[in-house]
Symmetry: C2
Amino acid sequence: MVTNRKEKEQRREEILAAALDRFAAKGLHATTITEIARTAGISQGLLYHYFRSKEELFTALIGDALVKMNQAASGLESLPVPPDEKIRIAIVELLKTLHEETFSRTVMLIAQANLSEGTPEEAKEVLRRESGEPYAVIARIMAAGQKEGSIFDQESPDVLSMLFWTTIKGLAMQRVTNRESFKVPHPESLLRLFIRR
Amino acid sequence: MVTNRKEKEQRREEILAAALDRFAAKGLHATTITEIARTAGISQGLLYHYFRSKEELFTALIGDALVKMNQAASGLESLPVPPDEKIRIAIVELLKTLHEETFSRTVMLIAQANLSEGTPEEAKEVLRRESGEPYAVIARIMAAGQKEGSIFDQESPDVLSMLFWTTIKGLAMQRVTNRESFKVPHPESLLRLFIRR
DNA sequence: GTCTATATCCAGATAGAC
DNA sequence: GTCTATCTGGATATAGAC
């Protein structure tokens, strides 16, 4: 039973975790409220005590995910190291987190949400507002690296940033859909895309 | 009105194209039969004259897509050029087809179907049977290239093949979700991942 | 706060007229 | 072959007991 405020908050988190699990596996529309409730170990009716609708649940998850991504991105940008080293660190860290179930699921969730049609309007709104930053951060780092000569310069910073993120996204999807057989590449292999040699 | 056999076949194709359009944009479950019918310009009831169910439609699309992919893959393998050149050609061609709406949609469709939960069982069956080949083809080419020294050899052929396809998949998704702003990278940029230098 | 039972709605699928 | 009208099932959301 959940009575005080802290426990209520915790139950909310449990529901969110269950929802992330199911949404990442099946997508928004294929996932039923009943299934989320079952995963969270509660009755279907109770879920409505914590969230008004399935869409609100989805939107909350998207919001959380983007906040975390933006924090990570701005943390990266403020590191006191040269641009190419920032990219190296970013790749190392992202490949590490690929092992964590939660991270891969979050990437999937955002990827799905970006298939804008069929995504709740409020979720799209959040995406529009917040999702540009990680791209912009990497693009700025790439630009700085090109200026000082450490980053590959036959491609614009924008395109490099897009390549960076699409590669990570592709790997995360692979990770989610092929849990058993998935092998993480070495950071150095991916770095070859961006570092000038 | 559709009377003879050829016209019937054509109408089937129209419905398949409409379904691919909608499934790629919204996914299997978020897409309604009504919507597909409207996109194809026919009534909802008529669709059942051509396909038994939404799932059959989906499975047919997956089947078509995999057949085409496998044809392309085996065509690539039999080209009379060295391995690194095969990879080059594959990248050039794939980046070209990225411009075609249909190709990107097809990639999306397969990516979605791979989120196995929520995918119809027959579609999963087809995927299991047929989807390994493109990976295997690229892995074999990578292995041959490593043997003769033209391909990057600090990563196994399997991982290189996975990197190859996840990169393409990531770009296709980007293409579908950001039609307006999407810029295709130069083939040489991607080649850097695989070619030994 | 939590559950069970139920109302409501909507999409998939069918039937039948033309 | 094609359409409109209808049946049916399942999922969201609500109501009400505990």
